[in-house]
């Protein structure tokens, strides 16, 4: 089983890395957008899956980072300086998000992040000397080494893999366990001696750095920044990607990003009301596959495997899950891993 998973993973990676050799620029652009969206969705998933916090304003963080890069890029600054500006902006915005939400959870967290996302959107329109206002910032140039779409796609792919590796490490660490403890019971965590607010602040900053990475790549990809990047719908799509792919699973955001970007850019040329289609997909997933696509696949694999009912989780399958929740799912009284995200909706 494990061998099959590794083989399959290797195959996908090989295909992903060889894509620039065979694909035309437009499909490569789509794949780049999938990678970027997957990083943003991954940052949302880190909070949703681990801490049980649903952010409706993450596009605000990524757009802030994008504006940082774009602002520096139109002033012809070196790519490293662009990155430094983006990092600074991301840290500040994440800190604001974290400080304003660290004593909240559930619906209050959702509302504050929603408001903060809208604030970033509003600032992007108002601070026109920095952001170009409604017109946005045009004339952003990618760093020369990734000017070619194939090269840029490879950069986005590598950054996605880095984000996945960091997420995996984080969720396996005792810090990750702490975050899941916060998700399950804040009261118990503080009565055990954990500074819960501090843990949530750190989680929001980690997640924000990831969202910022997506924002930098998005600005370079489109070579343009406008307030729409911080719009509510961008934040909402990221959440939809997480739910469709599978909340709390490592690969869920990637799958979800594929589905959403696919519907948005590819199916939209055939179906006019593509957001409606996306809504239908979301409803189907929420009703019939609460673990999202990845959760459903894990269920299938488990059902197909003979002589493996209950007991300790097999090492192969939970490699897909970021937090060992597969252990829970194999037990009696099985429980959908998307539970946390659902409650917060």
């Amino acid at each position: 089983m494990r061998a099959v998973a590794v083989g399959l993973g290797g195959l996908v990676l090989f295909a992903a890395f060889s894509a620039p050799l065979v694909l035309a620029p437009y499909p490569l652009t789509l794949l780049s957008l999938v990678c970027i969206a997957a990083i943003l969705a991954g940052s949302v998933n880190l909070l949703m899956g681990q801490v049980g916090l649903l952010s409706m304003g993450h596009a605000g963080i990524s757009a802030a980072a994008g504006y940082g890069v774009a602002w520096a890029a139109v002033r012809d600054m070196d790519p490293l300086i662009q990155l430094a500006v983006a990092l600074g902006v991301t840290l500040v915005v994440s800190l604001v998000f974290g400080l304003m939400t660290m004593r909240t959870n559930g619906i209050v967290f959702l509302m504050i992040t929603l408001a903060l996302g809208m604030t970033v959107n509003g600032l992007a329109q108002k601070l026109s000397s920095l952001t170009g206002g409604q017109n946005g910032l045009t004339g952003v140039r990618r760093p020369p080494i990734v000017a070619d779409q194939g090269a840029f796609y490879l950069l986005a792919l590598v950054m996605l893999l880095v984000a996945l590796a960091v997420t995996y490490g984080l969720t396996r660490s005792s810090f990750g366990l702490t975050l899941r403890g916060v998700r399950e019971s804040e009261g118990r965590m503080s009565s055990l001696g954990y500074p819960v607010a501090r843990a949530k602040l750190l989680a929001v900053i980690c997640s924000g750095l990831m969202a910022g990475t997506a924002g930098v790549l998005a600005a370079w990809q489109s070579e343009f920044m406008s307030p729409a990047a911080a719009g509510f719908s961008r934040s909402a799509f990221a959440v939809v990607m997480v739910i469709v792919g599978g909340t709390g699973t490592l690969l869920g955001p990637v799958v979800g990003a594929g589905v959403v970007v696919g519907i948005e850019h590819w199916l939209s040329s055939y179906v006019e009301r593509w957001p409606t289609l996306l809504g239908v997909v979301l409803i189907v997933v929420v009703l019939f596959a609460r673990g999202g696509v990845v959760g459903a696949v894990q269920d299938l694999i488990r059902r197909w495997r003979p002589g493996d009912r209950g007991g300790a989780a097999p090492p192969g399958v939970p490699a897909l899950a970021t937090d060992g929740e597969a252990v829970v799912m194999t037990g009696p009284g099985a429980q959908a891993p998307a539970g946390a995200g659902k409650e917060d909706l």
């Binding site: 899941r180 009261g187 118990r188 503080s190 009565s191 009284g333």
Partner: protein
């Protein structure tokens, strides 16, 4: 062991001074009290080897201490509440409670439902702030201190309604309890390992509460009684210096209650415990002192025998059973 001095040995509840004057009970000694001639009071006098509790019960000696728990300074109170008041809207849930807990003492808080017992715990633990009064823990004023900081000082509690990490395994629940007091920083980025690799101390504690071999199970699959056992195991894992148990026996079968009674009785005698229990029968073997709360006010504080004999306590309980 000096800490096992029989404090509060029950004298017969009706003992009185000549003339019917009741015996002064529980008078705290001033710390600077001295014998005539300035000779300091002999404190912590070693007990003769054959000393026994009334009824020939041998004194619990050489109770093993968990290896690295520092003892609270002898002779000090570990917990002191002064005039603690807490209101909810117009209702006063805790109404001027004064109580101290000495090092190594076991205090039971009894009282009918709604008496304010849990609210008192939440005040001590820092989940609620008192409207009036002060709370001292291990010699520090913690009245305004965060719950998690009080926990780091050594306060540990269990919850009346099991408050566990439901979708995590038993092992992860124990891990969270163990790693709680540890300094975090970069080391918290190290991976935690599988279910079989919990610290041996955690495995011992699990076995002690009757959950041996269950570490891979998700908490949601545990029975009610097992969840209560895990509650206690987690509270013990944090190496507490003061332990608060909120109705640990609630909803347990007779057999489980007996097991729990023995578990508490076997805890190190140096560990001060406050035990909430609204069934009086469980506390009698366990507590050195009993406080009966009614409508947020301590009605009677005394030895188990005194409290059992006190008609005000009986009235409180009878009053409850007529309207419950």
């Amino acid at each position: 062991m000096g800490a096992a001095l029989p404090v509060d040995v029950p004298s017969s509840p009706d003992a009185a001074l000549p003339g019917g004057v009741p015996l002064p009970r529980d008078v705290p000694l001033p710390p600077d009290a001295a014998l005539p001639g300035g000779v300091p009071l002999p404190r912590d006098v070693p007990l003769p080897a054959d000393a026994a509790l009334p009824g020939g019960v041998p004194l619990p000696r050489d109770v093993p201490l968990p290896a690295d728990v520092p003892l609270p300074a002898a002779g000090h109170h570990v917990l002191r509440l002064t005039g603690v008041v807490r209101r909810f809207g117009g209702m006063t849930a805790v109404d001027g409670v004064d109580v101290t807990l000495a090092a190594g003492e076991r205090l039971a808080v009894i009282g009918p439902n709604g008496a304010g017992k849990t609210t008192l715990f939440r005040l001590i633990a820092g989940e609620l702030r008192p409207d009036a009064g002060t709370i001292e823990l291990l010699g520090r004023d913690v009245t305004r201190m965060h719950a998690w900081r009080r926990a780091r000082l050594g306060l540990s509690r269990t919850f009346q309604v099991a408050n566990l990490f439901g979708r995590l395994s038993v092992a992860d629940n124990m891990r969270l309890a163990i790693q709680a007091g540890r300094p975090s920083g970069w080391r918290s980025l190290r991976p935690v390992r599988g279910a079989d690799d919990v610290a041996t101390s955690a495995l011992d504690t699990l076995a002690q509460v009757g959950l041996a071999g269950r570490q891979a199970d998700p908490v949601a699959s545990l029975s009610h009684g097992e969840q209560r056992q895990l509650e206690i195991a987690m509270a013990l894992c944090t190496r507490p210096q003061v332990l608060l148990l909120d109705e640990p026996a609630a909803g347990l079968s007779a057999g489980e209650r007996e097991m729990l009674r023995r578990l508490i009785a076997d805890l190190p005698r140096t560990l001060p415990i406050v035990l909430i229990e609204h069934d009086m029968s469980l506390v009698f073997g366990l507590a050195d002192r009993v406080m009966c709360l009614h409508q947020g006010r301590p009605v009677v504080v005394g030895t188990p025998d005194q409290v059992r004999a006190d008609e005000r306590v009986q009235a409180v309980y009878l009053g409850r059973s007529t309207h419950a």
